[in-house]
């Protein structure tokens, strides 16, 4: 699974140097800064990072959902030849739901509480297709069946608060699928759900990809979810992609110290159980006031002469052309660092550890 199913096909979505900023009372928030990626049909791309790293803003910007008088955009996002960032409202309206559909994090808040769920699906179908009410309603029931809602015919007449969390998320998925979109964007789709339901939902995503060959952008902070379904992974930190590659590249040969930190923070059943899970010390920087150069610098125990300059996102590992990262350290040195402490590559803030480990200077 080191290459996505159709890596030779032309991408259906090309994002280049996407930047989004918001003006707020607290200053200008650079939420997304120079994000680029390609998405091909049938591909599952995971965008990973802590909350506040800009991953949700990236996802929503693709559909123009972050437009506001206080927002500024730069860069391009081209979907099958149509530019999304500068698209007119009419163009966007056609693409939303029909070509690119979105699944949101909190299905309770994301469904209109006073509309029957059947009607909410019918509304989307009829926004894009000239179907009579009856046909659209039948289709809505079929969709609900397809995502695994029992007694779909009756349940279509229910209101969102009458469903459980997992069922509501299925409704959201049914809604997103109702016009057979080519791209699905799922923003933390399983965060609000318990683990068994989460597994079922992820299974649905895989099946749907196989059935429809739709591409999926999965925005999540949960590496377990990523390991389960993703083909490719982009790790975001402070508005930028810091590492990007196939699942195998990123999971088995992580190049960026931030990725090491993230990977160190997941439970591994193949390792002896530790009393405490390692966590990444410190907090992500304010997006209104990011550190100069490499944004991870204040939290990173490792040093390089160029750390004060912003590292470019380039392929640094020989033989892994698609594997990009934003760290000045030489791949060879990074490999050595990781071997010194297998499984324990956490991050340590400089000011927390009284003496700096000498091995870092090696």
């Amino acid at each position: 699974m080191s290459t996505p199913p159709s890596s030779l096909a032309p991408p259906i979505l090309e994002v280049r140097d996407l930047a989004v900023s918001f003006a707020t009372d607290q200053g200008i928030v650079q939420a997304v800064d120079g994000v680029s990626f390609d998405l091909r049909a049938g591909e599952i791309l995971a965008v990973v990072g802590e909350s506040g790293c800009g991953k949700s803003v990236t996802a929503m910007t693709l559909l123009g959902l972050t437009r506001s008088p206080n927002a500024r955009f730069a860069g391009t996002a081209t979907y099958k030849g149509t530019e999304l960032i500068g698209a007119s409202d009419a163009q966007l309206q056609r693409i939303r739901g029909e070509e690119i559909a979105m699944i949101f994090q909190d299905p309770m808040a994301s469904l209109n509480p006073v509309m029957r769920i059947g009607d909410q699906i019918v509304e989307q179908i009829q926004a894009h297709e000239d179907l009579p009410d009856e046909r659209a309603h039948e289709r809505a029931v079929e969709l609900l069946q397809r995502v695994g809602i029992p007694r779909a015919k009756q349940r279509a007449g229910s209101y969102p608060h009458e469903f459980s969390g997992g069922m509501r998320q299925r409704v959201m998925i049914a809604l997103a699928l109702s016009c057979d979109p080519s791209v699905l964007i799922a923003d933390e789709p399983t965060t609000a759900l318990d683990v068994t339901v989460q597994a079922q939902i992820l299974q649905r995503f895989r099946e749907l990809r196989d059935e429809t060959n739709a591409a999926l952008i999965l925005v999540t902070h949960d590496l377990g979810v990523v390991a389960d379904v993703a083909d490719n992974v982009a790790v975001m930190y402070a508005g930028r992609i810091v590492e990007q590659g196939t699942l195998d590249d990123v999971f088995y040969d992580p190049q960026h110290p931030y990725t090491w930190g993230l990977l160190g923070a997941i439970t591994r059943i193949d390792r002896p159980r530790r009393t405490r899970l390692p966590t990444i010390p410190g907090l992500p920087p304010s997006l209104a006031n990011r550190p100069q150069g490499c944004h991870l610098r204040p939290r990173c125990p490792h040093e390089h002469e160029h750390c004060l300059q912003s590292p470019p996102l380039v392929a640094r590992v020989p033989g892994e052309d698609g594997h990009l990262d934003r760290c000045w350290l030489e791949p060879e040195r990074k490999r050595r660092l990781r071997e010194l402490e297998p499984g324990e590559i956490g991050l340590r803030p400089k000011d927390v550890s009284p003496t700096k480990p000498t091995r870092d200077a090696a």
Binding site: M60, A109, S110, P113, V114, E123, Q124, H161
Partner: protein, 315 residues
């Protein structure tokens, strides 16, 4: 549902009881308020006073007086001190006038409040919003009887555009009915349009940042449909409560100032005039009448609320 109605009925009785006791007390504990002296006319003899006290029952203890008065209100035999007129008849005469005022004004104020609320919310922060918001503020800042007096003078008396005073029953001539009421409707509506459009604007702006509105937008439906089907629909729910209370208050005679300045001779004006003469029986009856409508409309509001918002259960 049956339990809900039963509980509401019980609450209504309690509220009516409380209100009637409060009103009765206000007018019975005031010094110099002895109605016998006022009923007796100029230079009464102690005998006349005693006589009046006896016929009206003022010599009985206050609780007994209260019970007697209540009995008469519900029996329809209560008469006022001042002209010995049957109070219930007077109220019944005022009802169509007050109801006409309430219904017409209610329609106008809701219509314009929704229009203005939508307009300002969609243009939030721009100069059109600032201008309309300022206008709404002016509306809330004007005493209704002042604007009413200006209207009767300039539009009615000077320009002769609308009739000053007078009431034509709707059954007689609906056009004349509306024509005679258009100024009171407008004057009363100005205040409510100001209040409601501001509340609605706030609700709309809050709803616009709800997650489900984002979902609706992501579905690819038109902005117009998002605004009407998702944003407005949900923002109107709290407005309904407000409307029920205010409409109930106007029907119950609460628009005293409007009724008086346009000389509508509705229930509210009857109350005001009776109060000015310290005529306790009509005041009591009107207050209870008003309270009845307010509680009734409150109950209706709760039922409508549950119908509008499926998450609410009546209990």
């Amino acid at each position: 549902m049956a339990r809900f109605v039963a509980r509401r009925l019980l609450a209504m009785v309690a509220v009516l009881f409380a209100i009637s006791v409060i009103t009765f007390t206000i007018f019975n504990v005031i010094p110099n308020g002895d109605p016998a002296y006022r009923l007796a006319g100029k230079s009464p003899t102690p005998d006349t006073i005693r006589q009046i006290r006896h016929t009206w029952g003022f010599d009985k203890p206050v609780p007994v007086q209260y019970l007697k008065t209540m009995e008469k209100i519900f029996g329809g035999s209560l008469v006022s001190y001042s002209q010995n007129l049957n109070v219930d008849d007077q109220i019944v005469q005022g009802i169509p006038r007050t109801l006409s005022l309430a219904i017409g004004a209610g329609v106008i104020w809701m219509f314009f409040a929704i229009a203005l609320g939508l307009f300002t919310a969609v243009r939030a922060g721009r100069s059109a919003d600032r201008l309309m918001t300022a206008l709404a503020m002016v509306g809330v800042s004007m005493p209704v009887f002042w604007i009413g007096a200006l209207m009767t003078y300039y539009l009615g008396f000077k320009a002769g555009l609308f009739p000053n005073g007078g009431y034509v029953p709707i059954t007689k001539n609906p056009i004349q009915w509306a024509y005679h009421l258009i100024m009171p409707w407008t004057a009363l509506s100005i205040l409510f349009i100001g209040v409601y459009s501001r509340v609605l604007r706030g609700n709309l702006l809050d709803t616009m940042s709800e997650d489900y509105v984002r979902t609706a937008r992501a579905k690819g439906i038109s902005e117009r449909r998002i605004l009407l089907r998702h944003v407005l629909r949900n923002s109107l729910i709290p407005i309904v409560t407000l409307f029920g209370l205010d409409f109930g208050a106007v029907v119950g005679g609460g628009a005293i100032l409007t009724e008086k300045v346009f000389d509508l001779q509705g229930v509210g004006q009857y109350a005001a005039e009776s109060i000015a003469q310290l005529d306790v029986p009509p005041v009591l009856a009107v207050t209870m009448f008003g309270a009845f409508f307010i509680v009734l409309l409150n109950t209706v509001v709760d039922i409508v609320y549950a119908a509008l918002d499926p998450r609410i259960r009546l209990s």
